[in-house]
């Protein structure tokens, strides 16, 4: 039978077909976090149900911990009761917590691949829409709500209607100044924030295969911003060698056995997709969002679009976005003053992200009046970056070198911008008020964020590095 990669993983995880037409999909690894799991524990206990597989379930503390250097669970007082409830609920149910002082602490979507918990062809669930990140290793991941989380705790399966299949073929060769984030933003500019609704997206093509694993994680991370619940990339030799030797990855004969199965995880050559899209990545410039929706993207050399050129029924939204962002049609993106820079999140806080940003920052200073924050995605990323001296590069330039967590991406830990501030952020959502009431977020990759921090304005990093600006 001719199958797509997605179909292969799906079919291998179907436990049963329910009478209502939904498939029960087995969840190989389930990671909880403190915003939602305490509510699910409470509901589960009220219903007198047990956690079926505490050994496949893990608790992250990532959304609320403060990023202040030297922080503890009480530094962000709003989050403290959730962290306490998470620890207690996890203990009662025999679930391992990746606690604040543990070597494996961090954002779950960063930690799970990094320790080798995520495996190609396996399923993964997190009560967080960015669960899709780990599709970068060829895993099938689902972000879910609290009731679904409770369902998985009780049964280790998730009841899903099978989505349709979309393939996005990324052609060409990505140049030296574009990264996975730019590819994802480019796709968003084409299909918009709902173009992927109802689909699972497989990213394929030469440019996808050329991405390093961290870049694949970044690309898959932004799948939910396209409206798709999950996206993935066929695992290949670079995925296997990235995974090999990671603490939780299989070893010895088990590795060999797993590997021979993982090598079959590709879409068959004549597999059918319900939708296909090709994007040429050859001349891709660094990309930046101008509005309040992740699909509102232009190239860094571009200008703020004019709603008059859009379809009539889309105009009011575009006009509203312009008002919120304090922009007028035709303005150049380059040169807009920037007040705050955030480098972090499950999108762009892995070691290569910090290395790329540090290469821009090295030998420069954060511009006067700019508040610049770097929050590594995990304790390991933080340790590895410090071993390379990146913390010094950032600190000496005037950045705050924060403790790991979701931080300013979601603003649940006390880190946020002020009303009217323009923020360059390596995160995933530029919604109104996302990073603080009235704060104006532009989504970018790490190098554009770094360039803005040292110049105090939106700057084409290519020009900065060649001395043109």
């Amino acid at each position: 039978m001719v199958l797509t990669l997605f179909d292969k993983i799906w079919e291998a995880h179907v436990v049963a077909r329910r009478a209502d037409g939904r498939d029960l999909i087995y969840v190989d690894r389930h990671i909880l976090h403190e915003l939602h799991a305490p509510h699910a524990f409470r509901k589960l206990e009220a219903a007198g149900r047990n956690v079926r597989r505490p050994d496949l379930t893990f608790s992250a503390l990532d959304h609320t911990p403060s990023s202040n250097p030297g922080r503890d669970e009480n530094t962000n007082r709003e989050g403290a009761p959730l962290i306490a409830a998470m620890r207690e609920g996890s203990k009662r149910n025999g679930i391992r917590v990746f606690d604040l002082s543990d070597a494996e602490h961090g954002i779950s979507h960063v930690v799970a691949p990094e320790i080798g918990m995520v495996l190609p062809g396996a399923t993964h669930a997190v009560p967080d829409s960015h669960a899709c990140t780990v599709g970068g290793l060829g895993a099938l991941a689902f972000g879910c709500g609290t009731t679904e989380l409770e369902h998985i705790l009780a049964t280790q399966v998730i009841a899903l209607k099978k989505p349709k299949r979309m393939r996005i073929r990324l052609d060409g060769r990505i140049g030296p100044h574009a990264r996975a984030k730019d590819v994802a933003l480019k796709i968003l500019s084409v299909i918009g924030s709902s173009g992927g609704r109802g689909y699972t997206i497989e990213y394929a093509g030469a440019a996808a295969r050329a991405l390093p694993i961290e870049g694949r994680l970044t690309l898959c991370n932004l799948t939910i911003e396209m409206g798709s619940r999950t996206g993935l990339i066929a695992p290949d030799d670079s995925a296997f060698s990235w995974l090999y030797g990671r603490p939780w990855a299989p070893t010895g004969a088990m590795w060999e056995r797993a590997l021979s199965e993982w090598k079959t995880l590709i879409s068959d050559s004549d597999a059918q997709f319900d939708a296909e899209l090709c994007i040429d990545c050859s001349d891709l410039e660094p990309q930046i969002t101008w509005g309040t929706d992740p699909g509102q993207v232009v190239a860094i050399s571009g200008r703020v679009p004019d709603p008059a050129n859009a379809e009539a029924d889309r105009r009011p939204l575009l006009e509203k976005a312009l008002r919120y962002m304090g922009l007028t049609p035709g303005m150049a993106m380059e040169g807009l003053p920037v007040h705050r820079v955030f480098i972090g999140s499950c999108t762009n806080a892995r070691l290569p992200d910090l290395q790329e940003a540090a290469a821009v920052v090295r030998g420069r200073k954060v511009a006067q009046g700019v508040h610049a924050l770097v929050v590594p995605g995990s304790a390991k990323v933080r340790r590895d970056a410090e071993a390379l001296g990146l913390d010094r590069v950032f600190r000496e330039a005037g950045f705050v070198w924060g403790e790991t967590g979701c931080s300013m991406c979601v603003g649940a830990n006390g880190d946020k911008g002020e009303r009217g501030e323009r923020i360059l952020s390596t995160t995933n959502r530029n919604f109104e008020n996302r990073q603080g009431a009235g704060a104006r977020t532009h989504l970018v990759g790490p190098t554009l964020a770094a360039a803005a921090a040292v110049t105090g304005k939106i700057t084409d990093v290519r020009k900065l590095m060649t001395g043109e600006v």
């Binding site: 329910r18 209502d20 939602h36 009560p127 009731t147 797993a258």
Partner: protein
């Protein structure tokens, strides 16, 4: 879960696309263990920058203080998977959402909580939205899920289709976990099979 059969009430028009869950249930207050979902409901959009009520916002208008039906645009509920968005809508009294389309995770969260996510044909949607604006909460609208119709006070009828599986879940108010529990022996058999055939998956 409360079964959904017939709901009759006021329909509040929020005719925008891409209303995300950050707007419906802003974080901050949800970071507490026992959030007040009624207070959280569109908390930021209900207020002006200086903290006064935003008079133009639909849910601040007196006739829409407790609407049973929400009428909105495409991709409703996009963004974060937070189920608090659905609990906020429930706390505001909403049992049924008529949208151009729904974000995938949000739609599932609706079904888990007995809220009917309804999509009309584009032409009907356009007409229904215009009528909802004209009626402006002055008369009630009836949503009959079994018959799959929306009926206005003047007798106008709009037909919609919700897949049978989703309809059954709502009509019967079924406990999803209970339904899956009926498959426990299959889950156990699956786990045994995986531990033999794909052992790296069964142990972290």
């Amino acid at each position: 879960m409360q079964p959904f059969t017939v709901v009759e009430g006021v329909a509040a028009p929020l005719l925008e696309d891409d209303v995300n869950t950050d707007q419906i249930a802003p974080l901050g207050s949800s970071a507490w263990m026992n959030p007040d979902y009624a207070k959280m409901f569109f908390a930021r959009r209900r207020k002006t920058a200086n903290g006064a009520d935003e008079p133009g916002f639909v849910f601040n208008r007196p006739q829409f203080h407790a609407p049973e039906i929400l009428v909105t645009g495409s991709n409703f509920g996009c963004g974060s998977s937070r189920e608090a968005a659905v609990w906020c809508l429930q706390a505001a009294g909403i049992r049924c959402i008529v949208a151009r389309s729904f974000a995938d995770i949000f739609r599932e969260n609706c079904l888990q909580n007995g809220i009917a996510p309804i999509v009309l044909d584009p032409d009907d949607a356009h007409a229904f939205e215009a009528l909802a604006v004209t009626i402006d909460g002055r008369s009630k609208i009836r949503v009959d899920l079994a018959a799959q119709i929306i009926k206005l006070a003047d007798g106008t009828v709009f037909k919609f289709e919700l897949p049978l599986a989703d309809r059954t879940r709502l009509l019967e108010g079924l406990d999803d976990i209970g339904l899956t529990m009926k498959h426990l022996s299959e889950i156990t058999a699956y786990e045994e099979r995986v531990s033999l055939q794909h052992p790296w998956r069964s142990k972290p």
